[in-house]
Symmetry: C2
Subunit: 210 residues, 2 copies
């Protein structure tokens, strides 16, 4: 019978993982708080090289943390992002909302000639002011968010712009960084991103430390 030698303690695994990431990743461009986020995001994707693509606006971490402490809802473009948020870490029992599967979304998508991921944002409007918006999957959702903001929609407190992929992902994140309509933001430049990295960033914002 093979002998499987591995660490079986969850906290010990986290601690060793984070130590490896801090030893290998170049975090020199980040503040201490940003580095905490970056470590968790690298942990979620398994690539220390990804940290080179992280960009945080100077006020992002404090704006997002303050909003969450004050009970801001978290709006997510994908169920996977929403389900990656550890509820026990949230500082104010914050609502985590994904409207992609709302029964109204398909008709809204047809109405605006865009994806369901984009159309789902129309259902955020009432509570979007001061919220934390996390786009971890669909570039169309991030582009549509920018269109809504351009049209004068209520401003979130912070935007995580981390869609993944080969068509529109890099472009949508560049567009957010170029003009975020005054909203603090975090992005992962290029093709990388995704629901796991986005949820990891939310979990780091929700509570510092392990």
């Amino acid at each position: 019978m093979p002998d499987y030698d591995y660490i079986r303690d969850g906290n010990a695994i986290y601690e060793r993982s984070f130590a490896i990431i801090r030893a290998e990743a170049d975090l020199s461009g980040f503040s201490e708080e940003e580095a905490d986020l970056a470590v968790r995001m690298v942990h979620a994707c398994g690539s220390v090289e990804a940290a080179r693509q992280f960009v945080f606006s100077p006020d992002f971490v404090s704006a997002a943390r303050t909003a969450l402490k004050n009970g801001a809802p978290i709006f997510c473009d994908a169920e996977m992002v929403a389900h990656g948020v550890t509820r026990a870490r949230l500082p104010a029992g914050n609502d985590v909302i994904c409207t992609l599967r709302d029964p109204r979304t398909p008709e809204l998508a047809a109405g605006i000639g865009n994806t369901r991921s984009a159309a789902a944002l129309k259902l955020w409007r009432e509570r979007m002011a001061g919220s934390v918006v996390a786009i971890g999957n669909a570039p169309t959702a991030l582009f549509y968010l920018l269109e809504l903001l351009s049209d004068g929609a209520p401003k979130p407190a912070a935007i995580l712009g981390m869609p993944v992929g080969f068509v529109g992902a890099a472009e949508s994140k560049d567009a957010l960084a170029e003009n975020s309509y005054g909203v603090p933001f975090a992005i992962v430049r290029g093709r990388l991103g995704g629901s796991a990295m986005t949820a990891a960033a939310l979990n780091a914002l929700a509570r510092p430390g392990l």
Copy 2:
């Protein structure tokens, strides 16, 4: 007002994405069916280089597809994996099961001196024979699966071994590839992997094509 120029049609985005991946990724080591899986897995992580780390046992795709068609349940180690499976793609309304948050899991974890992710597998036993097992997050879950199989547990029809991370991930996947107890398997070598890639592989297995 900025003019955001992007593709708003979901299927067109998929098709263009998959075309880019096929143009850039080295899929020459894969069968046609394996390449379909690989394309979706690359799509989920945004890195064509990741394809170099994919390993499929020769019988993996057919074994997993046959099991799913016959109604096999899908067992997942993480909620994010389970929530990434597109239910409409499943060929037989297959159950998608994650027992991580089962109220019995914490006590089981204490009992075996392992993580909750590992202990959650104890609740799979009754339906594990012929199932599709998808480990997309926790190396401890994959190691523990191997321990169960070594102890004579019922054999799944196929194993997706794709945990991500810096401690135990590479080792657990190497261990699966070295001795899978006769069960067909797919792995992502090294640190890469994760819930999105694992869910993408499941979605590709569930139904070929877009």
